[in-house]
Subunit: 910 residues, 2 copies
């Protein structure tokens, strides 16, 4: 045929094939492919996309010859199904669906059961003996046809069923009797007539023609045009139209319907898995009114069908080289496959299936690696709730840190610690958390906050600790005074049990049973294959020896970010820190006055006197300041010894003190009083210091390297602690590779300034200990200025680590503490595709990173570059990091396997 | 002479000349030049820089021949001065000074009066009859020689004079008698011996040799090396040594000393100006013990000298083509010129001199334009204190907005307004100001704040208004309760008089007399010449018709930034704004729920019901929100009508609403109560709204275009007001050129989104009014992301205006509200050369601006680009803006002439 507009599929043969997507659309090509494979899909035909174009171009007329081709194919279809349109004795019913070369959810809905009319319905009643079923599908068809094909709003039909139900006092649609449904059919026809302006067409051929036209027209519906625009879909001719025979699983006991998987989608085990119901429709399986039977029962009930089905399952899995999720219907002992697709599966199943399929030589290792989504891997590392557990969801929040936790709720960090000490398991509930809560967060099994996003303090710390966390559960109303919270009408008190699903972001009532993760042999094999292909290094963000050890077990190749500020909060250290802060101002002020006087060449008498006075005044704050740092030194050294041991042989990047000093001071009155009495000052003095350190925009305030410009002594103390620890560990024959990292650098001169202090202190340690250790000094790149002046910064920095959390905040001008309020409007309006704090904004923040790397390597071609923001654990961001030539990513311990797999994926795809 | 190491100058002839700087150093070359000009400088000789190198290279030995050349030149000098080293009868005293090719303040101090010894001193006493004078210069010489040449600390000599003064109960050095000074000479010699280890050298030839060596050595002193390092001075051989005869104006009544200017440095008038004292030293003129006589008296007392001097003044001015500041000494009826340099002058004088000199054909217009520093021009536009006024400085702050203001202090904005209404002149004193204070700031003559920097709210608003302002006067302790302030021990109450010097940043006690600015004809002529050469356009930042008119008078070529938020605060408008804010949340929330439901294709019954319910709930907030905007519309329209009229024919760039909504809510309890009663809600509801809108980092919060993403209606109202105003004014036959500017854009999609709303609203206005006006829509570039994605943003933006205040904050990560605390450490450590909020940080923020322009013009080659941050009025930043190809700068009205001149300077300098 010179101008084939219609392609038939059925009876084991199809005119089309998989590669004809452009002509037949995705759905049509796939139906043809399956038919050719010998899969018994219900037969039908596909009208080509070019025909749609011709129809549209002609202003809504069928091109010459189409009518004939449709008729011919309809006849073939009737023959294949042994049924005829409009024949009450053996009625052919069809579905009509759109289907372009690219999947377009914005297009026309499906029309089912086309072919019904007043006569055909009599035939169906006669055949099935089920009038209720018949009238129900008929009234549904009128509704669907009216709405989808003729543009008569569904609403109007709904109005009729509502008023009928009211009159007969029916609660559910299912309460309506056959007679009442028959009445409804009449009413629906009246509605149709009123709104469409014509009678409902009784001629199935006319129904079909109208439905085909509706599909053609839907190509240029506003919704479809908008969808193509938004998704940049161009170059398509139109949509294909698929007309396919309906098959019914509910026409008698020789009928049935079911869903099956070629392998177990929960465990991945190789077995036929699924369930079915005889004399039922697909809906019945879903609705749960009748209990479906497991697959193997089919083998007993209908061995021939079972054999045919399992044979097809094997064939489809081999063909698609992946586990298949298959819908089937048996109509009068004849098996039809309605759909097959790659089956969804749990992470555990995904890993097992991938590994097994390699063993079965179905796929190779590289394909296997690509079979598991990096984001899934996370599931394998945390406990989870038993899938069978009954969930009563109290409210939802953000899935801030994955896993499952069960505990009694407490509302303060102190309570969390003391209850834990009494052997209780607790969930810490806070409006939001602050660094003071660290102890309590560690003591809790899970953390729940009312405010804050995916990168709020609670979320970041919880992920770091591997604690389950649900953040920003806005429906909570927490009352610290009464130690209780209200949520959707319920009030929970301290001590009440809840469960948190950190992977789903759900808060659940009561104690749900959990299962621990099993890092089975399959997982190990799989991750080894991933490591074989990836190019990007994967390090971890870890602040404690425990975290470091865990991350190492998860495959981390070093520490990319060891934050030192957490070390300042623990136990008694905070008091030394606070002592330092109280003295810091006077200390710095006097030191700054003294320094220039000491270097005056020929001081005047006045200058000599001033110097003496200042030095006297300086004694007290200096003693306090130095004393505090001296107290902190051994603690820090001990911390680093632990970390270096845990990471022996691997690099450890230590970020020197970063947060503003006010974070170390208590914010509430009671704690301020406690501090005052401990520090032997007045509460007013503490309050005054808190006020003095208050900043309007703390994000852009006195922190990071800026602290060390004012107080270089702090970084000196830290550098000393690092090197004393490094020498201690090195003497135990363990290799240490310390990398000292300076945060918040904006200009090379800052780095030069602090580097001089640090190197000077380190050299002192080396002389004292008569021993040297190799080390690097590098910088975070997190201030936009640092990115655009990276060529100069690389003159001093021996490595770069991109702090993309802050770079995002400054580069995009979003405070991550505040943006939650309006970022939702951005996502709603489609202004950002992803939350930029979760997935690196490539065009903006990413551009700054790219500029930073390029400039940095202009100066230092082999510059080692990594990322240590939250993005380091996000697969999409990891892809970008790989693309722009980073050496490694660093992420929280539990994201390490995710990152390893994501790095493997990009290496394979790249 | 084949190897000339010493160059003589004197008796009207010199061996060197101006262009021999490399060999003779700057000072030596200049002395030679003046000598050759016929200027009677005290004779002397210069040892070359190469000789210094040879000395250093030889490890501290005089090269062969140097001794002979020094001796020969010394002999010539003795002859020229008719005096001899070591000759008590006619003693030659000399000064010895270093002098490299580049001025280096880090090098050796001067040694004066070299040649004194025990015998010479006798001769001087005999000659002057003034033993006190003689012993005093002798003991000073021993001190200076000991300290500078021999490295015996000045401190040791000071110790001697202190103990002597204690013993004889002298308060001042001048209380010491001749006899006591003679004793001091002996003690000084003992100190010298003790610390130097040798007797003080009595042989002047030896003194000279040691002094020359000391100068040579000073070339490699740590101070000098450090100085060269810091200033990147390389390629020099060494320092020259200048040995020059001392002359004395206090050796009798035929002696004298004075300072003169070739034109009046205060007014610029062409007249011989200056003063002198007979029989006196330079010090005496400065010390103010005797009153100097005006220049013309010299004409009467000594006509020949006067004639010679004025002749030289003319000659020097002609030679240097600039007004000269000349020091002279008359020694025994012989005139010596000690120094001539370009004279410092007031801004008014600078302008007048430049204009006059063009008329006198001494310089051309371009040279004239370069003769006035842009930063000086500011002085001419504001009142100032009478120079004669006695100043009692209470404390100092930052010179935040120039000018002089006198008034009674008040501590609240309300008081400022009510006192003003009673006819009083007031100074508004606040800890810091906020947008609520605008009315009071306007009512005050000047503004004084305790906190905040050069770009604090008070400073920015005051400069915009042309109000004098001293900001960040940290010594103030303001007590709002008692309406008083303490400052350095004094307490001032409400109603006390103070004066503010906004140009010097001084707070002065009492009422000082002021003088108004005179924009004389010279100024007009001068600025016209500047405009002839500049390439960069100059616009103004103005929010009111008054400011616009003033700026236009100052030469502004349009408005580059018209902020609309100030318009929201005035009078009753704030209540409409607050009404809008109270309703905004519910409004937006419901609107967002309704919108998707309305577009559902076939809504379910539940959806239909929900929609009905939501629409009902929506009525109240919608009425309030729309009502508030409707109230604001006529106000805004009226504002724009005024501004368009004032700027008829020139472009007006209007920035749509920028600040976060919380800035419009009252922060203190009392005002919140007032608002509650007015809005008919509970105070708790107001408080709750304030808390809800509170942001942790407001700089990075919900403001600018982000507001319009949530509430596009606000920008629609503003766009409507602008266009209705534009049409109204256009109908009055005045040309309007509105440019609508969107703030805080970070992604092109934001701009696209709001632009669609704005254009839609504008088209509505055009249809309603049956009239069109041309307009542009552009954007601020102030978020780093906008700069690095400017190519995409330029797809939608018809112009760019760089908001470098915010770009600096985000790009460098500095909150301008907080950075004051630590930026001082940065300046102290030399980490930033300039305060980045005052002068654009070229390498960082400037790089982002450059990237932004380059990318923007890739997309839109003729893209109009300007700057509207504070930097637009800073000469150094303007230079940068010119260099990177901006079209215009925009600054506060009073900076417009500054910017015009700065733009002319950079155009001339190329």
């Amino acid at each position: 045929m010179s101008n084939q507009m219609v392609y038939f599929f059925g009876n084991g043969q199809a005119e089309g094939q998989a590669k004809m997507k452009q002509t037949l659309g995705g759905k049509g090509a796939n139906l043809a492919e399956m038919t050719n494979l010998g899969v018994p899909v219900p037969p039908g035909f596909t009208i080509t996309t070019d025909t749609c174009k011709d129809y549209v171009d002609a202003g809504g007329k069928w091109p010459a010859g189409l009518k004939e081709q449709v008729d011919q194919n309809l006849a073939k279809l009737e023959q294949a199904m042994q049924a005829k349109l409009a024949d009450p004795a053996a009625p052919l019913l069809v579905s009509v669906r759109s289907g372009a070369a690219v999947s377009m959810p914005g297009m026309m809905d499906t029309v089912l059961n086309l072919g019904l009319n007043d006569k055909v319905i009599e035939g169906i009643i006669a055949k099935t003996g089920n009038a209720r079923f018949a009238y129900d599908i008929y009234r549904r068809f009128i509704d669907m046809f009216g709405d989808v094909v003729m543009g008569c709003d569904h609403e109007h039909f709904e109005h009729e069923i509502d008023s009928l139900k009211k009159r007969v006092k029916a609660k559910q649609d299912t309460d309506l009797t056959a007679l009442q449904l028959a009445e409804l059919v009449q009413r629906y026809k009246a509605v149709y007539k009123k709104h469409v302006g014509k009678m409902f067409p009784q001629d199935p051929t006319q129904q079909l023609e109208l439905a085909i036209n509706a599909v053609f027209k839907s190509w240029n519906s506003p919704r479809a045009i908008k969808y193509r625009e938004l998704n940049h879909i161009t170059g398509l001719h139109g949509t294909a139209v698929n007309v396919q025979a309906m098959v019914f699983g509910n026409m008698g006991n020789d009928c049935g319907t079911g869903v099956c998987f070629t392998r177990n989608p929960s465990t991945g085990q190789k077995e036929y898995y699924g369930e079915f119901l005889m004399n039922a429709q697909g809906e019945d399986v879903v609705a749960g009114i009748r209990t479906p039977e497991p697959m193997k029962q089919l083998g007993k009930k209908s061995p021939a069908i079972y054999k045919q089905l399992t044979g097809l399952m094997d064939k489809l899995e081999r063909h698609y080289q992946d586990m298949q999720d298959i819908e089937f219907t048996i109509q009068q002992d004849r098996l039809f496959i309605l759909q097959t697709r790659n089956g969804k599966r749990t992470a555990a199943a995904a890993v097992r299936i991938a590994v097994d399929m390699v063993k079965e030589k179905l796929i190779d290792k590289k394909q296997a690696v690509l079979r598991v989504e990096p984001s899934q891997v996370d599931q394998l590392l945390h406990p989870s709730f038993k899938p069978s557990a009954k969930r009563q969801v109290l409210c939802k929040g953000l899935p801030a840190s994955p896993g499952a936790a069960v505990g009694q709720i407490v509302f303060t960090a102190d309570d969390a610690e003391s209850w834990r000490d009494k052997g209780k398991t607790v969930i810490l509930v806070r409006i939001e958390t602050s660094p003071e809560d660290i102890g309590g967060m560690d003591a809790a099994k899970g953390i729940l906050t009312q405010r804050g996003g995916m990168t709020s303090h609670a979320a970041v710390v919880a992920r770091g600790m591997g604690r389950c966390c649900v953040a920003g559960a806005g429906d909570l109303e927490i009352n610290y005074k009464t130690r209780s919270m209200k949520v959707n009408g319920k009030t929970l008190k301290q001590g009440d049990w809840i469960s948190l699903d950190g992977s789903a972001g759900e808060v659940l009532l009561g104690q749900l049973p959990t299962v621990d993760p099993e890092l089975s042999g399959h997982f190990g094999t799989f991750m080894k294959w991933a490591d074989e292909v990836r190019k990007l290094g994967v390090r971890t963000n870890a602040d404690t020896p425990e975290d470091a050890a865990r991350a190492r077990a998860f495959g981390a190749e070093g520490i990319g970010l060891c934050r030192t500020e957490h070390m300042f909060f623990e136990g008694d250290r905070i008091w030394a820190v606070r002592q330092m802060i109280l003295a810091a101002d006077d200390y710095a002020e006097l030191r700054n006055q003294i320094a220039p006087l000491e270097t005056v060449d020929s001081p005047s008498r006045e200058q000599v006197q001033t110097l003496a006075r200042l030095k006297k005044e300086f004694r007290d704050p200096k003693a306090k300041f130095d004393g505090a740092l001296k107290k902190l030194l051994p603690y820090q050294r001990q911390d680093f010894i632990g970390i270096f041991k845990a990471m022996a042989g691997l690099p450890v990047t230590i970020r020197l003190l970063d947060p503003p000093l006010h974070e170390f001071l208590p914010q509430d009155e009671k704690s301020q009083k406690e501090m005052a009495s401990r520090m032997k000052v007045t509460p007013a003095a503490v309050k005054a210091k808190v006020d003095e350190l208050h900043e309007i925009n703390p994000m852009l305030g006195h922190r990071g390297v800026r602290l060390a410009i004012t107080y270089p002594e702090i970084y000196r103390m830290q550098a000393r602690a690092i090197m004393e620890a490094a020498i201690t560990v090195a003497r135990q024959k363990k290799k240490v590779l310390p990398e000292i990292m300076i945060p918040l650098v904006g200009t090379v001169l800052e780095l030069k300034f602090v580097k001089k202090h640090i190197v000077d202190e380190i050299e002192k340690v080396f002389r004292e200990k008569k021993s040297r250790v190799k080390y690097l000094i590098g910088t975070m790149i997190e201030v936009p200025r640092a990115a655009v002046t990276a060529d100069r910064i690389a003159e001093e920095a021996e490595f770069f680590s991109f702090g993309t959390n802050d770079l995002t905040q400054m580069g995009m001008g979003f405070s991550r503490d505040d943006a939650g309020k309006f970022l939702k409007d951005y996502v709603r309006q489609g202004l950002y595709e992803f939350d930029p704090f979760q997935s690196l904004d490539r065009r903006g923040t990413g551009k700054l990173v790219k500029i930073g790397i390029e400039l940095g390597r202009l100066t230092r071609p082999k510059l080692k570059v990594g990322i240590c923001g939250e993005h380091g654990g996000d697969p999409r961001s990891i892809e970008f990091c790989h693309g722009i030539g980073m050496n490694y990513v660093s992420c929280s311990p539990f994201r390490v396997p995710v990152a390893r797999l994501a790095a493997a994926h990009v290496a394979l795809k790249g």
